[in-house]
Symmetry: C2
Subunit: 306 residues, 2 copies
């Protein structure tokens, strides 16, 4: 057992330090940082063990990674750049907080989003809330700007995270497949926010964007609802290990789906990164939602209930 | 029972809206706000029902208020001004989330710190994490700047929150004493961050500052440790309903304790607000910690353990 202050000191020693001597990160009442330029973005997500992630199929460091990824993906979905993270952890005594922070720290480095503060408290279940700041030099891409005739794009094949979990549960895949970069298990354990793709989509003139966290049908539904358009999907790229249903309804892929006018110069902005895949178009009838000519049920995806 | 998206829409309708049409608060992947001027401050705190607050003696709306107050007080303790809040709530089905948000919303208005986003998830225990941004036009006041000879001040009598909880537990006080502005029960249920006092202390030239969340002895200990000084306290102002022990060791008062050179013009900066109370001075020997000539045990206050 270790007290809160000792443990915070231990953890702080493993986290990145500010390069600017006038900044102060962990160790005071608040962190002191330079404000972002342009627009500031703010987002927070919580991951609860046993609710968002089954610790039988997710290691504690990957739980920390996922919590960082969920929040940073919200910045990617606006076309923004991550700034700083605050990490609040609630955990029962005996939790492996150092392992949790090794995943958080790895994600912070990978996503260029250093942890500058947070909180550490006892509670009945391991719960990680990550709040992030971000910046956007130009206009952030909202959910509400899609117009009829806009082309719909995704940043890659879908369904990997859901397929990874299914394969772990069934015993078909082992957790050490997390080391294979393109495997479904890796996509489930260490999902990657699409920061470069989000920025490229914004610069190319995307009119609306969202990250696929509740499933393509539900998340594209949020764009449709906010923009007042319908959508006609012609094909959906499915991860090689996933089913079409996993691609349409599986959450936590963190792929981005965005809309852009047909004339948008995607090739130019996506030069050097994975090209997006065209999956359909926005239509004027807001009640039209179809895949390959078949109507899609309006689904809001999996929801928490209160 | 209500689904997450419906409930978020209901809650969003009760929260403040942006005055600036180019900002977007709740409803997209990230909130879009204008960045602060000067230095940016970032802090997060978590309140867990049954750990930080016993729901037998704290109503659910007051739990929401306390979570906001804890984070905003971290901004006050730097001499800063609150900006925006992200609120992440984890709750079991059947929790009164609307009541919780009525306290969060009241605090956000009182503390001029609007809620611009967050998360709402299921979990085993009601847990509220509030992350806040703040700004500081001048140099924020850290814990590390106190010098021998500096005078030590507090912004008001201490121990009220601990006394309020004791009186509720013993049945001496009823929860409706929360309506009496100066009562210990009110201080326990709806603690007030000292934003005006923190700003005045910064402008008057405070060298170090902290909010009293773990007890005066522990929190002044943090200043002493970070500044490399000791402290000699001559008297401590005790709330009329509190004991000296509650004043020294009771947490969550959110009074500010700060150090300032003897020549600092406190009267000028504190004109029109509650004047601070002198409680002692910083001394060169970092091992010296005394109250009225008696050595104080080095205490770090109550800690979570892992």
């Amino acid at each position: 057992m270790q007290g809160e202050f000792d443990l915070i000191a231990t953890l702080a020693a493993t986290l990145a330090k500010p390069g600017d001597p006038d900044e102060e990160w962990i160790g005071d009442d608040s962190a002191i940082v330079r404000p972002p330029q342009g627009w500031m973005l703010l987002a927070a997500d919580t991951v609860v063990a046993g609710v968002h992630a089954d610790l039988a199929y997710t290691s504690v460091d990957d739980l920390g990674w996922k919590a960082m990824a969920a929040s940073v993906s919200d910045i990617a979905a606006m076309g923004g750049v991550p700034g700083h993270a605050l990490v609040a952890v609630t955990a029962p005594p005996g939790s492996d907080i150092r392992l949790l922070y090794s995943g958080i720290s790895a994600a912070a480095e990978e996503m260029s989003c250093p942890v500058v503060g947070g909180d550490l408290t006892n509670g009945p279940e391991l719960t990680v809330t990550v709040a992030v700041t971000g910046s956007c030099p130009g206009r952030p891409v909202r959910r509400s700007g899609a117009r009829p005739g806009d082309v719909i794009w995704v940043t890659g094949a879908l369904g990997a995270s859901a397929a990874g979990l299914r394969r772990l549960r069934s015993g078909e895949a082992r957790y050490d497949a997390v080391r294979e970069p393109a495997s479904a298990v890796r996509a489930h354990a260490r999902p990657t926010p699409r920061l470069l793709e989000g920025r490229a989509a914004r610069l190319a003139g995307a009119t609306a964007m969202i990250d696929v966290s509740d499933g393509l049908a539900a998340d594209l539904g949020h764009i449709a609802e906010r923009s007042g358009v319908g959508f006609k999907l012609e094909h959906v790229p499915v991860h090689p290990e996933a089913t079409l249903e996993e691609a349409m309804a599986g959450g936590e892929d963190f792929a981005l789906v965005f809309c852009a006018p047909p004339a948008a110069d995607l090739d130019g902005e996506f030069a050097g990164i994975n090209p997006p895949i065209m999956i359909g178009e926005c239509v004027p009838d807001p009640d039209h939602r179809s895949l390959d000519g078949e109507a899609l049920a309006v689904s809001s995806g999996w929801q928490h209930s209160f």
